[in-house]
């Protein structure tokens, strides 16, 4: 497999084809379409490169349309919509041939939110109890992939009760493959997963705006080379780590799929037009030159965005609401919405000489913003009469 890197400004474009990639002619709602498939690592499961993240959809006809259009894997979790998400999927797959779809679900156990480590109640019995409830809601006797849900620490990757529960569930035929999902501290979790030699699949947040992108990419490559199936998530919406400015969903999806170590992705969609966008990418996941340029432009815009880590809050001598001020800066220079920026600045009730009196700034921004310069710039909006802006 030959892979080349090209790009600038930290955003790389890879020219390569995944091992085991193939094109299949698929019956898609009465039409024949050619969809790109890849093999999910050592599981051997052949999957379209885009499947459905069901998470936020309560619309059975949308899920039905996704399956009828050629998507195969439905990604859900025990906890999504308090269980209604699995129940909705169950109503759709009822009566369908069991080999016409696959299910990836997830079970989580009580964690200390601040440390990511498990609490006392994180037992094998609780994990299996939740799995049984999920199977009942889905109306199936097994799922293809069961993920250990939302892991952010290497210690939690090998939490023994979970490993024992997964082993037992595999033996009893309730799950085919053991997976792990991570959307925080991903590189550490992915490396620990490879080292554990336990898991078959990793579901990992991966997008072109991640600030630790190179570490995520390297970890994914190592896992893939170890034979682990890689499912990408948060390709378009990256949760709190991602800026809100993805202009082209298709380009964002294609960017993830250009990495041959990613075998499929499960973007969440709640509208038919979004599904159609995904299906078009499934036919042709290659980035066009225009899409590459657009992504480069967007990646360069990340310098306008606060990543919301909030580490600065305790560093500022005057306890200024720095994340809010950085948001005002974004409104000013990216959104070009001065009224919105001014409203925000005024709502913060800043002192008259905010950020003017320190000879040296004690704030060390995690993404390298020159915080005092941006604050001094944006607080000028306080003194601009509103009628000049509106």
């Amino acid at each position: 497999m030959k892979t080349t890197l090209a790009g600038c400004g930290g955003l790389f474009f890879l020219s390569s084809e995944a091992k085991g990639q193939e094109t299949k002619i698929v019956e898609s709602r009465g039409k024949e379409r050619k969809f790109v498939y890849r093999t999910l690592g050592r599981t051997g499961l052949k999957l379209p490169v885009i499947n459905m993240g069901v998470m936020n959809s309560d619309n059975p006809n949308l899920i039905r349309a996704a399956l009828d259009s050629g998507m195969v894997l439905l990604d859900t979790a025990h906890g999504y919509m308090g269980g209604r998400n699995e129940e909705t999927i169950g109503s759709v797959i009822k009566g369908r041939p069991r080999d016409s779809y696959m299910i990836g679900s997830k079970v989580s156990l009580p964690q200390d939110r601040s440390t990511g480590l498990y609490l006392e109640g994180a037992t094998m019995e609780e994990f299996l109890r939740k799995l049984d409830i999920s199977l009942k809601r889905l109306g199936v006797d097994h799922v293809e992939i069961l993920y250990h849900h939302g892991v952010s620490r290497k210690e939690s990757v090998v939490h023994e009760p979970v490993l024992k529960a997964m082993e037992k569930a595999k033996k009893e035929g309730k799950i085919r493959f053991a997976g792990i999902s991570t959307h925080m501290n991903e590189p550490e979790v992915v490396h620990a997963t490879v080292d554990s030699k336990f898991y078959d699949v990793i579901l990992v947040a991966y997008n072109y705006q991640q600030k630790h992108l190179s570490e995520v990419r390297s970890a994914i490559a190592r896992a893939s080379q170890a034979g682990i199936g890689i499912v990408g998530m948060k390709a378009i919406r990256g949760g709190h780590r991602q800026t809100p400015s993805v202009q082209s969903a298709a380009a964002a999806l294609k960017w993830v799929l250009q990495d041959p170590n990613v075998h499929t992705i499960v973007p969440g969609f709640t509208a038919f037009e979004e599904m159609e966008t995904d299906l078009a990418v499934l036919e042709n996941p290659n980035l066009t030159e225009d899409e590459k340029k657009a992504l480069q432009k967007e990646a360069s815009l990340t310098s306008l965005y606060c990543q919301g880590c909030r580490q600065c809050l305790n560093q500022c001598r005057d306890h200024l609401p720095i994340p809010d001020l950085m948001r005002a800066y974004m409104y000013t220079y990216d959104y070009r919405n001065l009224a919105l920026a001014q409203d925000l600045v005024l709502s913060l009730n800043l002192a008259s000489r905010a950020c003017q009196d320190c000879s040296q700034c004690s704030v060390k921004c995690s993404v390298g913003f020159n915080v005092p310069a941006k604050i001094k710039d944006v607080v000028r909006l306080k003194d601009v009469p509103s009628e000049f802006i509106a």
Binding site: M55, Y80, R84, H183, M184, K234, G239, H240, A271, P323
Partner: protein
Amino acid sequence: MLGIVGFLWSPWAQAADFKFPSVNDWKQADNIQAFDSSTLYEYIDGGADLYLAYDFEELKVAEYQNDKKASVTVDVYRHRTPTHAFGIYSQERFPGANFIEVGVQGYQEKHALNFLSGNTYVKITSYDTGPEDQAVLLSFAKAVAGNLGEKGAFPSLLAAFPAEGKVKNSEKFMVRKFLGYPFLHSAFSADYEVSGKNFRLFIIEGKDQADCRDMMEKYLEQLGMKDKTVAEGQYTLSDAYHGEIDLHWRGARIWGILDLGDPGLRSKYSKLFEQELQKRK
């Protein structure tokens, strides 16, 4: 400005000042965690997307522990309006749940109790509470509900759904992209089961007649009926994703029936729904 004053005087403003209650034999941890729309992901990860769609404003979380090291966590999600709080509650409510009278409505299961009150959605979870689990959860729920003030009621429009054949507690509020179409905004729906047939009634409340016209025009365009004259009245539409839909547009309301092939039953429920809606003009 008047809108802001109105909010401050509304009963829902109390929720913003909510204080966690003291509960006998339980010690509250010192730190109360708070999350806003930019930090909710830190607490519920990707699940935050759905809450944000329902105009989530703030989450406060308190932990309690007793002498036996059992613990209870209380999450109080505050949304912009009671309708939005009902919406997210309705997305997670199972019609067959074990319902209880707390707030507007609640339900409980092993180690969990959820309830709706005003513009808040409260989720209480327990650990190691032993055989007293359900009683413990209920006592916490009552104490929290007491501090939330005015409990409010279900959205009034829900009363317009005909009672005959309605699946109890199946009503939902979908905040956007109803039917999977971005041009159809929020809608209420309820599930029905009649003579072995399962179907759904829905109603979209537009801002005004023009808003509904805009939705109708876009929907007809979606269905390849761009040239059809758009006027108030009844439509029977063939939707590639949803099958045949009976749709009615009058004034600022669009309502209809989904997933029901039987024309006789469709006609019956169209009339029943219209009669109920006319009572609530």
